[in-house]
Amino acid sequence: MPKIIDAQAIRRIASDLRDFQVTEARAAQLAAEIARVNGAARAEGAKNDFNDEPSRYAVTLAALAKR
């Protein structure tokens, strides 16, 4: 599980990369949320195949329909 990024880093990334400001308190909340989302995505990503791509989703739904 990745570490929770610290609030200072969140504020710096928000400001430098995306040009928006967050308070210290909000940055701490965002850090926890990013850690949860990032951790879940990494865990599932480890099960993905290198041939996977997002556009396969529509094909999957069609294939799973009962004929």
Binding site: A14, F20, E44, N48, R56, L61, L64, A65
Partner: protein, 491 residues
Amino acid sequence: MNDDLLDMSLCEVAQAIRRKKISSLEVTRACLERAKAVQPAVNCFIALEEDEALGAARAADRAVKRGAKLGPLHGVPLAHKDMFYRAGRISTGGSKILRDYRPSVTATVVERLAAAGAIWLGNLNMAEFAANPTGHNEHWGDCCNPWHTAHITGGSSSGSGAAVAARTCYGALGSDTGGSIRLPAAANGVVGIKPTYGRVSRHAILPRVWSLDTVGPLTRTVRDCARILSVIAGRDPFDPTASAEPVPNYERLLDRRIKGLKIGVPRNHYYDGVTPDVRRRMEDSLAVLRSLGARVIELDVPDPQHTYHLTNAIGQVESATIYANWLRERPEDFSLVVRTRTEAGMLVPAVSYLEALNARPRITAEFVQQVFGAVDVLHTPVMVMPVPTRAETIPGGSGGVMDMLAKITRNTRPINFLGLPSLAVPAGFADNGLPVAFQLVGRPFAEDVLLRIGDAFQSETDWHTHAPSMDSMSARVPATERVSTREKQTA
């Protein structure tokens, strides 16, 4: 007379207009009168288009008189969540930012409804940018539940659920990204279907999360729902995500035969925290389905907990991308809740977002194979508790409010991640007098199976015929300051 007209279902009123038993003008006038009567307390409309609707109704009646070919919705007044674009007409998305937005294109679903003869009565209230599950809206005023105006309508298609329940129109379009059709359908005692992802075009509707957004109708009966879905579903060259899977005439497939169908009841997750009154309504509904010959089977289903964070990865990034310029240039014009929910998406790594998207086909396939290898559909409560009050669910409230909001969507959000179709059907009332509903979930593109079961259920029950009283729809209980309805828009 008006009450008789307004109590008719969409299919009944369409047939009566076609057979010249009633005119579209009478029906449209009745709907407009009802809409104006309930608006002060329910606040389900953002804009009523009275003159245009009456003009369209007169034209519909002339077409009937001259024996023109009539569409399946000919002369029937509908109203829609204020996010379905019409070229040159204001579409607010329930927001302050788009208060004066006039798109240059018309939604494919709007064109299909018009081609089928439907009348556009007005634009319905909704959660700001379709982004909350309660129906609160600080820009246009809360939409209030017509069964008891102190309670939420559910969202984000708040006006769609309330307007149909209040008999101001015979059906309404909504959109569903995490429960936004099923929750207001359930909370207002009407039917709503969230189709398979890609079943209905999303062209020229306000986006919320491209990978999760779906469009579907809210109506009073399952048959009405089937009729509208047949009109709006199908491929669309303007929407590459719209599926080319053939669209059946869903209404013709409503033969009420469900004998032998296997209805799955999850042992895990979907009943966690269910209240005794909601559980009783679920058991009652299953007893009805059993009496019709269905087999009810309990089973374990894949735990959806891990999909919540994956859904957030997708939802936060896509909505942050959609709102990126406004978040930077006019953040004060968002409600605090929408802004804070969205800004995390600016910070999620791109690789995490794509990992979540790439995991989706595999997780969906595993779910479908495990669940629909054993049963034909799943049956769960839409909400595990009675419809809460607006005061209990004010966005941005305490930790208790956050827990309540999570509870509201716990049974609907996982279905959006999986992209599966789901039908919400009224199943009676909770101890607080507010409606309760079950949802049926099927394999991809099995909308016909869900509708067949729902229609069979309604053939044996009368929950869908219950209507809120005018007394309950007149009691004004403000939770937040109400904003006056938008002045009539001009083309």
